[in-house]
Amino acid sequence: MAEPASVAAESLAGSRARAARTVLGQVVLPGEELLLPEQEDAEGPGGAVERPLSLNARACSRVRVVCGPGLRRCGDRLLVTKCGRLRHKEPGSGSGGGVYWVDSQQKRYVPVKGDHVIGIVTAKSGDIFKVDVGGSEPASLSYLSFEGATKRNRPNVQVGDLIYGQFVVANKDMEPEMVCIDSCGRANGMGVIGQDGLLFKVTLGLIRKLLAPDCEIIQEVGKLYPLEIVFGMNGRIWVKAKTIQQTLILANILEACEHMTSDQRKQIFSRLAES
């Protein structure tokens, strides 16, 4: 990885902003500024010049760009705040611009609104449960936020239970709040996760990799034996299979698949399928 590092160092030393389009898929470091395509067009026919631009009046027909995790807005440019690879997604339909984000790796989870997470109930105080989600504060979960829960009909949740829910409030100023129903009032698989099984922790990047639409790992794992998995975006995975040995095998595979190449993985799966 010497080449991207030297390029990054050079750009930092010169403190020049690069065009986001040219850096897609490459490693970016915190502190770099990225130019968006509209600003590039204002340049002359020289191509991707690395001089900082001044705003000109022509740039009024701009498209909305979303800067995702790892990026911040800095004037009219994007400022990188995490190290990782820069990614871009084209807009599917409607308003243009697309999404830019940094694909970084970390183990510490920061609550984000809308994320589905696995939490452990640590305390029960009055009408709310305190749920540990791996963030800086325990999230609060009201007992009415379960499907079919009313004041008389309380959900059966004890201290130490595992909960699969999503955040409705999650910012740096307030205590995070989670619920186990969606906006229509249905559970949709959320709520208390059943008995037994094993909960273990992995990095956040692995969770996103496993939940990608075309993930082979999950497809191969599903063919081994009957099992149930729950993925939490806070780095926690809960697995359950018929026997303890199968559960442990599954946990080991998921933990190890982060650092395996696809060939090694296929070897292991074929060995498991035989036994």
Binding site: L36, R62, V63, R64, V65, V66, C67, G68, P69, L71, R72, R73, D76, L78, R87, K89, G97, V99, W101, V110, V112, K113, G114, D115, H116, Y164, N188, G189, M190, G194, Q195, R208, L211, A212, P213, C215, I218, Q219, V221, G222, K223, Y225, P226, L227, E228, I229, V230, F231, G232, M233, K240, A241, K242
Partner: protein, 170 residues
Amino acid sequence: MAAERKTRLSKNLLRMKFMQRGLDSETKKQLEEEEKKIISEEHWYLDLPELKEKESFIIEEQSFLLCEDLLYGRMSFRGFNPEVEPEGQHWCIFQKLMLQMNAKHKAEEVEDETVELDVSDEEMARRYETLVGTIGKKFARKRDHANYEEDENGDITPIKAKKMFLKPQD
């Protein structure tokens, strides 16, 4: 002497609703304008140069949901859920859940085992049998309630012959 001096009513009095009914539209408009002037003079404003608001076209989002199209996090494979497996209901829910949540991905990793979701004929007949009795009870009068005697199990048993007066034999 009173006719020489025209009584002067105060401004506030003239502004009241009952005084305005007799006025014509012109005087009304004048009064309104004066009102507006007074109100706008009382308003406070900042004596700063006009700051041009820059319309930012970059939106900040901290969530990965927008960036990557992720699957739903709860998955079950090969019909696993031993607690409710005899009924087969929860497994169907998970099947349906995975299909429903991942419909946009067209998830094909879920195995296609067919399960009887419909109620079987026997159960349907059993339910219908008791249903007739239950609904019939609703419309029966008080005297007829004796006809609908409930068994120990709660099933409606067929009625016995109604007891009539038996004429004593000689």
